[in-house]
């Protein structure tokens, strides 16, 4: 059952303030992920403690890296149920977990961070894994943040 929107709003904003586009409907998801072009990161947000303590801070750190995916998206599991389910359909080989992060290139999943790879790890460690994936898969077409 979704939580109060008032409670969730800061959790959404912690991600969207990074320049990550929130996808709240199935149509939003299909418009964003349907074309399957270039590199896209999908952050599956969550109300759980490891999202607050580890995943969102790790995303914040990782997105400070010069090389980043071309497209940055987020869905909120447990809140925007249809949108989250639709987003997961684009990485259906991977079991649903939240928080989690999918990195897609031309519609194919090239890197996936499950919840079990987040829990108990520091934001710095998680961010380092994401940055390594950005460098590996996004280096040629990645978006360079202002230097």
């Amino acid at each position: 059952m979704p939580y109060s929107e008032m409670m969730v709003k800061p959790m959404r904003e912690e991600v969207t303030r990074l320049g990550v586009q929130e996808l709240r409907t199935v149509a939003d998801v299909d418009a964003a992920l349907g074309p399957g072009e270039g590199t896209a990161l999908v952050f599956v947000n969550s109300i759980c403690g490891c999202a607050a303590g580890m995943a969102r801070p790790a995303l914040t750190l990782a997105l400070q890296h010069r090389v980043r995916p071309q497209h940055l998206y987020t869905v909120f599991a447990g809140q925007d149920l249809d949108a989250a389910a639709r987003a997961r359909s684009y990485f259906a080989d991977y079991q649903p977990s939240s928080p989690s992060v999918a990195l897609l290139r031309d519609g194919e999943v090239v890197h996936f961070v499950h919840r079990h790879m987040i829990e108990g790890r520091s934001p710095e460690t998680i961010a380092a894994g994401l940055i390594a994936a950005f460098d590996k898969y996004c280096s040629k077409e990645g978006v360079a943040k202002s230097e």
Partner: protein
């Protein structure tokens, strides 16, 4: 932050994906909830039983698949009896293969 208990009042492994090695040879992967007199409680758990014919993967291959693709939750809740519960390790401890002593 590493190893931090993020659900105060619970055991350190509460909420963490673990591997439970069973005395029978069966193995469970799931989200640790608690240890009760009835056994260890896991949520969203999957299991591997080498005695079941037709299994395509051995234990280590099965755990590697859970690591890569996520836990294929077969049951919302599992209680593993105390006599069956062997070693309990974090799933991520298996990232480089079976942890020491496996």
């Amino acid at each position: 932050m590493s190893g931090a208990v993020f659900h105060p009042g619970h055991e350190e492994l509460h909420g963490v994906a673990v591997v439970v090695e069973g005395a029978s040879g069966r193995t469970w992967v799931g989200r640790y909830h608690e240890r009760t007199p009835s056994g260890v409680v896991l949520h969203d758990a999957a299991s591997h039983d080498p005695a079941v014919p037709g299994g395509e993967l051995d234990r280590d291959g099965w755990i590697a698949r859970q690591l890569k693709f996520g836990i294929r939750a077969e049951r919302k809740l599992v209680v593993i009896p105390p006599a069956e519960v062997g070693r309990i390790t974090r799933l991520m401890a298996w990232e480089e293969g079976p942890p020491a002593g496996a």
